[in-house]
């Protein structure tokens, strides 16, 4: 196996599992350290740089960072990364003077953006400071897209939305509200320099079963129904409600039903637990509110009496499950559940009835636009897609990343530079040694369990539709939770020429992740380390030959807790703890891109 190439920024980036797992590559360990120091505003700005909406995401992000958090591999639960983000947002000072500012002089380029959701807003965030004229067309009377219309206020208060959207629109975005775009052709004719489509995935899936049309008055499409609640068009629902589907939208629907007066809410799942689409924590929150989740029931028919919905008939299913996969399915019976209303939350898709099919924007057989996964450009030059409208429903954090990438493309496109010429990420390493046994980070492992988020008591929770359920962490919880972070960005960096093979690092390592051994191929090496490296998703760090014996130092990155003891016990400083700082290239970094850099990037 060849020595690890640590010059490649991806190597150390991957060690920071949370940052690697985050689509926008938020520097999680850095902002958690800043929170630990009480520097909430700084922590907020670290977040905002990459994810743009820390206050919003700190409440409703789908947290791709948490399942991959290294803490989850040495403890029962990962660090509460998402809720710490909220801590930074809630406790920051006025940071308006630190936000990007509109360029004093416009560059004369006009960009049209369709939909005022997180993707379009991110594009504006990146391009307005570069002098672009951004015009956002929004069908609804307020900006925010699905963040506002589909996420209930008891999870995401309106003030937070207004604040963080305001940070962008206040720079000087031309926001055209109540302005639905009905024809792409007409918009293109207006002569914009580039067009960005960030119109989301606004179409809820339909469930065509007998009785669907006759019972239409009491059958609601989840995302449309949530939007009607958000805008005050709906304020009540029947006593008995069935939610069809068990994704995150279903969780929002069942919990909203309880707040509109429902007494008995059941979420009907076709498959058993373990096959649900909803995130575990959203399921937990719904079940805490006494929502019943009924498994193995497949919808069959809507039942009516005197022209009114009275119940639903289901097939009772049985599954054979092997190694987490369903191998066989059987119908073993039928069951009727009485109900007053049904909410369909079985998925959503993007829909483009307003894009003409003869203007060079190509679609695939499922009517999805063909979009490049790096540049976000459609098959028509100058038209870009991002967010749910590009690749179907994902999460806010994905839409933000799409926005950043599309902004780079648009910036290059408007300057006549090929959009494939993009700057690579950079990596900076700096030693964290402060003294013989002192590091500039909190290296002691704290074995505390994950702090539990406090919720508003059940009795008072349902009185107001807008009562935010989560109270946020209190100061003691914050102080404990920040110490759970393992500082994965403080890297163990090895210098083979200095090593005298005394074994001190190997003997002190609390997780047996170091070994000095003879060379071999990766699979062979992994099997003969001090603790076998069985997690193949985690890299092993392999040194060049050591001076004295020609053996190699191997480190399994999997469960290193970054305590720094290897570096402390090293007599020759062959190990050092160095902070890796990822330099992500945004549109503004491409601004000063010289020909030389362009050639390198290409």
């Amino acid at each position: 196996m060849k020595p690890t190439d640590t010059q490649n920024p991806d190597y150390f980036h991957k060690v920071v599992d949370c940052q690697w797992g985050c689509p926008a590559h938020t520097d999680v360990p850095e902002y958690i350290r800043l929170i630990a120091q009480g520097r909430f505003s700084d922590a907020y700005m670290v977040n905002r740089k990459s994810n743009v909406f820390p206050g919003i995401l700190g409440r409703v992000c789908d947290r791709p960072c948490e399942p991959v958090c290294r803490r989850g591999r040495v403890d029962e639960e990962p660090v509460a990364i998402c809720r710490l983000k909220r801590v930074a947002a809630d406790h920051k000072d006025d940071i308006r003077d630190r936000l990007p500012q509109a360029a004093p002089k416009k560059n004369g380029k006009r960009i049209a953006l369709i939909g005022a959701g997180c993707a379009s807003l991110t594009v504006c965030n990146d391009l307005v400071p570069l002098g672009y004229d951004c015009t956002v067309f929004e069908a609804l009377p307020v900006p925010g897209g699905l963040m506002r219309s589909n996420i209930p206020a008891f999870r995401l208060p309106v003030e937070i939305l207004d604040e963080e959207i305001g940070y962008i629109t206040d720079m000087g975005v031309d926001l055209r509200l109540n302005h639905r775009i009905d024809s792409m052709k007409a918009l293109l004719a207006e002569g914009y320099d580039a067009v960005f489509v960030g119109s989301g995935a606004p179409k809820g899936k339909e469930l065509k079963l007998p009785g669907r049309e006759a019972a239409d008055a009491n059958i609601h499409i989840g995302i449309e129904w949530l939007e009607s609640i958000a805008f005050g068009h709906i304020d009540k629902i029947g006593e008995k409600v069935l939610i069809i589907g068990v994704g995150n939208t279903a969780m929002d629907c069942c919990r909203s039903s309880l707040r509109l007066g429902a007494k008995d809410v059941k979420v009907m799942a076709r498959k058993p637990r373990g096959f649900f689409k909803a995130s575990d924590w959203e399921l937990e929150d719904a079940e805490e509110e006494n929502v019943e989740i009924v498994i193995n029931h497949s919808p069959k028919e809507f039942l009516l009496e005197n022209g009114r919905l009275v119940g639903m008939k289901f097939d009772v299913m049985e599954y054979d499950v092997e190694n987490g996969r369903i191998t066989d399915t059987r119908v073993v019976g039928e069951k009727i559940f009485p109900c007053d209303d049904v909410v369909l939350a079985i998925g959503q898709e993007n829909a483009f009835p307003w894009i003409e099919r003869d203007i060079g924007i190509e679609f695939n057989q499922w009517e999805e636009p063909l979009v490049d996964e790096t540049t976000y450009e459609s098959t028509r030059h100058g038209v870009f897609f991002g967010g749910d409208s590009a690749f179907g429903p994902k999460n806010i954090i994905w839409a933000v990343e799409h926005g950043h990438q599309a902004a780079i493309s648009i910036h290059n496109y408007c300057r006549g530079i090929p959009i494939t010429e993009r700057l690579p990420d950079r990596m900076n390493l700096a030693s964290q040694k402060m003294g013989i046994h002192e590091w500039s980070y909190s290296n002691d492992f704290d074995d505390a369990a994950r702090r539990k988020m406090q919720h508003v008591p059940l009795v008072s929770r349902f009185q107001e539709l807008t009562t935010e359920v989560e109270l946020g962490f209190d100061p003691e919880q914050v102080a404990k939770e920040v110490e759970r972070c393992l500082n994965c960005d403080i890297q163990t960096v090895f210098f083979d020429q200095l090593c005298i093979e005394c074994d001190a690092c190997i003997d002190i390592c609390p997780t047996h992740c170091l070994t000095i051994t003879h060379e071999g191929e990766e699979a062979d090496l992994r099997s003969r380390l001090k603790a076998p490296a069985e997690n193949l998703e985690q890299a092993i760090y392999v040194s060049d030959k050591l001076k004295q014996t020609g053996r190699i130092m191997v480190k399994d990155e999997n469960v290193c807790v970054h305590c720094g003891l290897c570096a402390e016990r090293c007599p020759t400083a062959a190990w050092d703890m160095q902070k890796s700082l990822l330099g992500i290239s945004y549109a503004k970094d491409h601004d000063g891109m010289t020909t030389c850099q362009q050639r390198k990037a290409g």
Partner: protein, 351 residues
């Protein structure tokens, strides 16, 4: 030393021994020795050996004298008994302890100063007495605690950190122990745990005094060019004469070794050590040959390692003294002190 204690992390893939204990259960407090000290590596090898043997920590007594080496019992087996004795007098205290309680597993850690200078006499007699213990000498050739003067094991011609040359002859604890009639004499190196761990296990299982000399470089005062006990010098002149594999009583031996090429020796407790000769002419049961071999390689400047001499038939102290099988510490007071009348009777027999 480090500010933080080695954290207790529950990571996947940790294994437990027969007693259900993890390796961490055999550790002690964090070492206060210099970073990179060979002694810490030996400590780790001791931890590994005890864990693999699945010895109950409370069954063990750790003995030591004075010096860097003698601090190390604090760093392994926190659950064991221990006695940090006067400089060079550890063998006497160990003799007392084992005389009173012969069921204890005794591991003694000493250094070249503690055993070859101030305690040389004590060392010689405990080997003669064949006290049932593992006697580890952590040998670095310098007095580290007093800032690096040559010790009695420093080789002639070896250079101190500031350049002066040692002109006195060296005491070789291995050759000395064989001459004194030791029953188990081995040498190893702190940087070679593959050799060291089986030797520690064999020494603990051997019935009698197992002397294990371990070259253990002093990173602070004796790891420079010109030193003959540095990591680099030891590795360059390392000569393993024999490979030792320890096979616990429960395991079948023949499946692992072809007869002829290797020499199995059954130990008192039913376990076996299998010696695989690197040098086919070497015979670890021949005292004359062993001493000749050591002298031969010493003249060439090579460091001979491995289990260099063993005589499993020699009687240990309790057999020599014909003591009772029951540890005296568990005997009833009346048996230990039968009273004035019994004493009188005894004296009568001597008149």
């Amino acid at each position: 030393m480090t500010w933080i204690a080695k954290p207790n992390v529950n990571f996947p893939g940790q294994t437990k021994n027969e007693l259900g204990l993890s390796l961490r259960d055999y550790e002690g407090v964090t070492s206060t020795l210099c970073a990179g000290c060979g002694h810490d590596s030996i400590t780790a090898a001791i931890v590994q050996a005890f864990w693999e043997l699945a010895v109950r920590p409370e069954q063990v007594i750790k003995m030591s004298g004075i010096g860097c080496s003698s601090k190390t019992p604090a760093y392994f087996l926190s659950g064991a008994h221990g006695f940090n004795s006067v400089h060079g007098r550890m063998p006497s205290v160990a003799t007392g302890a084992l005389a009173a309680n012969r069921d204890m597993v005794c591991v003694a850690v000493s250094g070249d100063g503690d055993s070859l200078s101030i305690g040389f006499g004590q060392f010689g007699h405990v080997v003669r007495r064949n006290l049932n213990m593992l006697y580890i000498i952590e040998n670095n050739g310098v007095y580290g605690l007093t800032k690096g003067q040559f010790s009695a094991s420093a080789d002639p011609g070896s250079k101190a950190k500031k350049g002066e040359e040692n002109r006195m002859q060296a005491i070789d604890p291995v050759a000395t122990a064989i001459t004194l009639g030791g029953s188990f004499v081995a040498r190893s190196f702190s940087g070679d745990k593959e050799q060291l761990v089986p030797l520690i296990k064999a020494g603990l299982s051997h019935n009698g005094c197992a002397v294990l000399d371990v070259i253990s470089p002093c990173v602070t005062f004796n790891d420079h060019d010109g030193s003959t006990k540095s990591y680099a010098h030891t590795r360059q002149h390392y000569h393993p004469a024999i490979h030792t594999d320890f096979v616990p009583p429960s395991e079948e031996i023949k499946a692992r070794y072809d007869e002829g090429a290797s020499l199995p020796i059954e130990l008192h407790d039913g376990s076996t050590i299998v010696l695989k000769k690197v040098d086919k002419d070497y015979d670890p049961s021949n005292r004359v040959q062993a001493i000749g071999y050591l002298e031969d390689y010493r003249a060439r400047g090579e460091i001979v390692t491995g289990l260099l001499y063993i005589d499993e038939q020699l009687e240990d102290m309790h057999q020599l003294s014909n003591t009772v099988a029951e540890p005296l510490s568990r005997a009833a007071y009346e048996d230990l002190n039968p009273g004035r009348d019994a004493l009188k009777k005894l004296q009568e027999t001597l008149r």
